[in-house]
Subunit: 144 residues, 2 copies
């Protein structure tokens, strides 16, 4: 297996609500998939973030869905180029219906980090990491 | 918010075990983070997949951890260039300790798809999608 991920799929309870949340954050869905029960967002770096009904994902994967847990065990991080941008992301997320679970604060390793969840409880981290460089094209690199 | 994700963090119960699983799939961790309670894998396209203790992630995020659910609601997809490669990925994942939750099969939209979980229950999809092109550098593109 090569060292890569192609799609990040978030199982959602209400596809229209979930899509509206990401659109309110400024994202634009692809036409591909539209009207077919799934929403794709082509994200920087050549990956895709997909929104797909939670029940369908569980069924496809052969797993029993016990309902959305408070903590899924997975976090997606949005790294920023400045500390101030973390505050802006947290404010925007809250404004469009996200839930702040941990307000932004400086952490022991020198970063500035906050957490919020989307309407389905999927966890996002807004993170300024002075050692992780966010390029102009939105991709990120860490030290070797 | 730009349309991007920087880090995908998987909360794990045993960091050494989780790292060993991904190394057995052929992945190489970064030196950055090594020995500091986190494992980073720089993945194709300029993102990072991180393994981080589940309890620490829940604490950082301000969420109560009810334990790993059978179905987290999130799936990571590894798209392949051929159908046969899906079978190879599924076999390799099982061989190194993954659990097949849905054997690979042809699905209604024309793809060939199987699911497995890693030792912490994180869900992966091995997927051949005839409309999603996997480039030489491992990045993926979907139709406009």
């Amino acid at each position: 297996m090569d060292q890569r991920v192609s799609f990040i799929t978030l199982g959602v309870g209400d596809l229209a609500r979930a899509q509206a949340f990401y659109e309110a954050l400024g994202w634009k869905p692809s036409k591909y998939g539209a009207g077919e029960g799934v929403t794709f967002f082509a994200i920087a770096g050549g990956l895709v973030l997909a929104l797909y009904p939670r029940a369908d994902l569980a069924r496809d994967a052969g797993l029993a869905d016990g309902g959305a847990p408070a903590f899924s065990g997975v976090s997606l991080s949005y790294n920023t180029r400045t500390k101030d941008e973390v505050d802006a992301v947290m404010a925007q997320a809250e404004q469009v219906g996200g839930r702040i679970t941990a307000p932004a604060r400086t952490v022991f390793w020198g970063g500035y980090v906050g957490y919020f969840t989307d309407p389905d409880g999927h966890l996002w981290e807004a993170c300024w990491n002075p050692k992780a460089v966010v390029a102009d094209d939105g991709t990120v690199s860490i030290p070797d």
